[in-house]
């Protein structure tokens, strides 16, 4: 009984660490000037952490880390509108990655990640479409799709290598 509580506390502490890491990477990424000046295109490095938590712990745990990251970034430099963008993108991304994690039985994480990034961009694009209400922005779709597939693949590879090296002992 005692050890069960201990492991719960340990897991909570580890998840809190991942949430802090995810937020830190997210904050750092906003400081890097965007190499491609197209709204909605960025590397999405903080998703590496979400992927690691999803594949090592599960969907519930990853949702928790994502929620903490969203709330922290909104509190620190966000507006309600920017929270809407990142929340819709982040949640769609996690749901798609969760489904593909199951469908692919934990294999080919970079494929799941690419689809996740696509879903993220699609979600943000839909919010942008609703906010701006101008059909001209539809031109962005293929650009956002290409960017999502490439960045998602790269962040998926990062997560793959981290998961390989990450000691099993911190997750049990």
């Amino acid at each position: 009984m005692q050890s069960h509580t201990d492991s719960r506390i340990k897991q909570l502490a580890i998840l809190a660490m991942f949430a802090a890491l995810s937020f830190g990477i997210y904050a750092l990424e906003t400081l890097i000037p965007n190499p491609i000046p197209i709204p909605g295109i960025k590397l999405g490095l903080s998703n590496i952490i979400i992927l690691i938590v999803l594949y090592r712990y599960g969907f519930k745990e990853a949702s928790l880390v994502l929620t903490v990251r969203l709330l922290l970034s909104c509190l620190l430099f966000g507006t309600l509108l920017s929270l809407l963008y990142s929340a819709v993108g982040g949640c769609l991304c996690l749901v798609i990655e969760g489904i593909l994690n199951r469908f692919l039985k934990g294999k080919a994480i970079f494929v799941a990640s690419a689809f996740g990034a696509l879903a993220h961009n699609a979600g943000q694009f839909l919010v942008a479409l609703l906010v701006t209400r101008s059909l001209g922005v539809l031109v962005y779709i293929p650009y956002l799709a290409i960017a999502g597939i490439i960045t998602g693949f790269l962040t998926g590879l990062c997560a793959f290598f981290v998961l390989k090296k990450l000691p099993k002992s911190i997750s049990s």
Binding site: L104, F115, R133, G136, Y140, P142, A145
Partner: protein
């Protein structure tokens, strides 16, 4: 043993299917980008949207050089510049200035978007009604 082999095959099949869908989407997107780039030439009508409403429409071929300052509903200002029949966001009071960094609209073909202030500049070819009438005539006669 046999059962294990089967699950292995279906696993690979699943990875293959999902990867194939991804590859198809990538190819389709690249083709779409190439088509868009090819249609770049006749873009000359700039339409400015503020808060989802059409604010003004400018024919870049006929317009003279000028700047235009817009006050967004959140109180921020965006200054749009028209020069040499091209249009850009010259300056903007927004967080990351992505809209300014997008540069000239005709060079990118993409709409210039300032999401924080909800200002959008799209450019497109002229919606030439005469042209369409002509082709219609050609068919009927």
């Amino acid at each position: 043993m046999d059962n294990k082999e089967n699950t292995k095959i279906s696993e690979n099949k699943r990875i293959f299917i999902v990867s194939a869908i991804l590859a198809l989407m990538l190819v389709a997107s690249i083709v779409a980008v190439l088509v868009l780039q090819a249609s770049k030439n006749n873009a000359s009508i700039a339409i400015i949207y503020v808060d989802g409403e059409k604010y003004t429409e400018i024919n870049l071929e006929e317009s003279e050089d000028m700047t235009l300052t817009i006050t967004a509903s959140n109180g921020s200002h965006n200054t749009i510049e028209i020069k040499d029949h091209n249009i850009r966001m010259q300056s903007a009071e927004c967080k990351n200035n992505l809209c300014v960094n997008q540069g000239w609209a005709k060079d990118t073909l993409l709409p210039i978007v300032c999401l924080p202030n909800n200002v959008v500049i799209t450019i497109s070819g002229p919606t030439n009604n005469d042209k369409e009438d002509n082709s219609y005539d050609a068919i009927t006669y």
